[in-house]
Symmetry: C2
Subunit: 160 residues, 2 copies
DNA sequence: TATTGTTATACTCTATAACTATA
DNA sequence: TATAGTTATAGAGTATAACAATA
């Protein structure tokens, strides 16, 4: 994929490529280390799946949550994302600026907005999901179908 | 663990706690999402294991790599960490300032340093490894021994 | 008194680029 | 011409704190 001349300067920053000449000790026995590397690989796949769409994992997550929870408040969105209210605010601003989501006044609570996807937003989520899931399968191609299910199951059990 | 009054404001920022009232769609079917959440859990365990020691995952990784590769150059350390040279520089500065590592001149190449752990650094790595591995086991306690091995194996296969 | 949204601020992390000295 | 180290800078991401409006 990369083509710029990098000479013998090693892997580009942000990569998780393993360097043959280096002894990594027992780093790979740490869940944190192994998870971080796998996560970088998965996020690389996400970046390829959404290239040129100015998408990020948090933005994608927000879109999916808005799709599944129409009318949710900004604070609740923040909780779902595990981010502070101010972060949910900026995320929402971005979505609104792109006409992917809109804030609607609530009748029951004048403090909170109800957040909804626009038509474009709803269409985009559908398109995005297809692309991201397709790249997910590609990056996990090394695993058998059984291993893929098992990985997700173990991750869930580990996190819970 | 937490005790500050947070009322009903939901999980604190940076947490990956699941909110019962929210529909997460099929987010959990994405490797990136599942991996990110698991990684947060693992890094939380790392933070608990190293509380008050001003340790971070990159610092710990650097210490382990220095332990396994005495005399390594800063650039090679950067490659191993997947970070830019400038990042390896600041990391090394931090270690040197704490008397955990030292730069030694090389006879064969006057451009590059050779990096070595000091006695304190070597002692610290041993202590850290014990603590981090102990907390690793605790966070993975929900998994059986077989599942733990399988998780690490699948992560490795996924990343490679 | 607590919550929602908002804004401003600060901090961490890390990539990029330019420079120097060696090779 | 390329590499190792250094330094300065910039950007992304995100937490904290304070405030007004509402509950």
């Amino acid at each position: 994929m990369s083509s710029a001349p990098r000479s013998a300067r090693g892997p580009r920053p942000g990569s998780n490529a393993r360097v043959a000449s280096i002894d990594y000790g027992n780093l790979h026995a740490h869940y944190g280390y192994a998870l971080k590397r796998a996560q970088i690989a998965a996020f690389d796949a996400f970046a390829r799946a959404t290239a040129g769409m100015q998408m990020t994992p948090p933005r994608y997550t927000a879109l999916v949550i808005l799709q599944a929870n129409p009318g949710i408040s900004q604070s609740a969105l923040g909780s779902a994302l595990g981010t502070a209210r101010s972060g949910a605010m900026m995320l929402t601003d971005w979505l609104v600026r792109r006409d992917l989501a809109e804030r609607r006044h609530r009748t029951d609570n004048k403090r909170a907005w109800g957040l909804y996807l626009t038509c474009e937003g709803a269409a985009l989520v559908v398109r995005l999901k297809r692309r991201v899931f397709a790249h997910d399968q590609r990056v996990a191609a090394r695993l058998t179908a059984r291993e893929r299910r098992e990985l997700l199951r173990l991750l869930e059990k580990f996190t819970e």
